[in-house]
């Protein structure tokens, strides 16, 4: 006969053992806790002082990544900001600046334009946008099927075969960089031209920019010029308060930029 005390002891051990899923033993593995590649972490640097709004980056991106050219979706785009002397801020990005900025009027959408006189303008500048390849990507967290994920080198990818097109990630991205691919009918986003950077090339937008406003680099290489600028220069990131730890750094960011 088993004693009551012993029986209870054994029962607790068995229940505790059963309630631990096998997965729990793997989560304490430090390698997985500090996930990431030791020698490679892709980062991006945008110098807004250099950007002139030509939009060559956008057209190159659309062709390189086979995004339908005339569909109003794009992986990267350029925004024009215009601040007037009386403190009003205007921003536009006609067709994502695929054809650059050729009209001095602000495109308000739906065929409406706003003319602003030269003498009213306090400042006007261009800001290229793309996926921030966040260290804490909210888009990945909300995916219910594991179709989007962060590669150890930092890039966030979408598995086109696995995506069910629910659109949670599109809503989850605070930067609005995700969209629905009109042909593949899955979530789509910038991936720093993963097929190029893994071949030792640069992203198509970086190669297309005549002014050097876009640069890509490796944060784990202290001698990388981009990393040097990010570490020592006065850089900013977009929506820092969201805690996403975005990895696209901006030189010359202004408070009007969202």
């Amino acid at each position: 006969m088993m004693k009551r005390r012993e029986f209870l002891k054994h029962a607790i051990t068995v229940v505790a053992g059963l309630s631990l899923p096998l997965a729990a033993f793997r989560i304490v593995n430090p390698e997985r806790l500090f996930a990431g590649q030791e020698d490679l972490r892709w980062i991006f640097l945008v110098d807004t002082h250099k950007c002139v709004g030509c939009g060559f980056c956008v057209s190159a991106c659309k062709i390189e990544n086979e995004i339908p050219y005339d569909a109003n979706v794009t992986r990267t785009w350029v925004e024009r900001y215009l601040v007037t002397r009386d403190g009003r801020t205007f921003a536009d990005t006609p067709k994502g600046a695929r054809d650059g900025f050729t009209d001095r009027r602000i495109d308000l959408g739906e065929g409406q334009f706003k003319e602003i006189k030269d003498e009213e303008i306090e400042k006007a500048f261009f800001v290229p946008k793309l996926c921030n390849q966040c260290e804490n990507p909210p888009c990945v967290q909300v995916c219910p099927v594991g179709a989007t994920y962060r590669v150890p080198d930092g890039v966030v990818l979408v598995d086109r075969k696995w995506c069910i097109g629910c659109g949670y990630c599109i809503m989850g991205c605070p930067y609005g960089v995700r969209f629905f691919h009109p042909v593949h009918r899955v979530a789509e986003k910038c991936n720093f031209c993963y097929h190029r950077i893994t071949k030792g090339m640069k992203a198509a937008c970086v190669d297309a920019c005549p002014f050097g406003a876009r640069q890509i680099g490796n944060a784990r290489d202290p001698n990388d010029p981009v990393t040097k600028t990010v570490l020592t220069g006065r850089v900013g990131v977009l929506k820092d308060e969201y805690g996403t730890k975005p990895q696209v750094y901006y030189l010359g960011l202004s408070k009007e930029v969202r």
């Binding site: 050729t102 303008i121 500048f125 097929h195 198509a204």
Partner: protein
């Protein structure tokens, strides 16, 4: 053992077994949490290779230089020397095999990307010579006046 307590239990066990069976059939073997851990790492490992296989279309100026070194050398010192070849000539793809000839974009729209005058203080755009697209020889191809590889305003005047 054939009583009202055990029968539903068998049913539940059966359903669980069926779900596990379906899961092993549907979920690919390389699906898992992999290196990025549980929070951000769930994916099909094979997809990384799929993304790497996307064809490169823009081959960069370095690729053009191999054959067109003369053109390359001559444009380098002109104000347009900073513009990558493929911005105007289109993506190199597998040229010269496919396509044999690259279509050059000579449209006014292309030049206007930089040379439409916009009031943009606090941006590099102001340093570029600009024209008013509606007033400056409307409808004419820009390259009729300044040669795109060697634009020089003083020579035109």
């Amino acid at each position: 053992m054939r009583n009202h307590v055990w029968r539903p239990l068998y049913l539940v066990i059966g359903v669980i077994a069926l779900l596990l069976l379906v899961r092993t059939l549907v979920v690919p073997e390389d699906f898992g949490s992999h290196e990025s851990g549980y929070m951000y790492g769930w994916h099909r490992k094979g997809n990384e290779a799929e993304w790497r296989q996307v064809a490169v279309k823009y081959r960069t100026t370095a690729y053009c230089k191999d054959c067109h070194s003369e053109k390359y050398d001559s444009i380098r010192n002109s104000p347009h020397g900073i513009i990558p070849c493929e911005d105007c000539h289109g993506p190199g793809m597998a040229h010269p095999d496919d396509p044999a000839k690259l279509p050059i974009d000579r449209s006014r729209q292309l030049c206007l990307r930089c040379h439409a005058q916009l009031p943009s203080p606090s941006s590099g755009r102001d340093a570029i010579r600009g024209i008013d697209p509606t007033g400056h020889n409307p409808g004419t191809e820009c390259s009729l006046c300044p040669p795109p590889h060697h634009p020089s305003v003083s020579e035109m005047q």
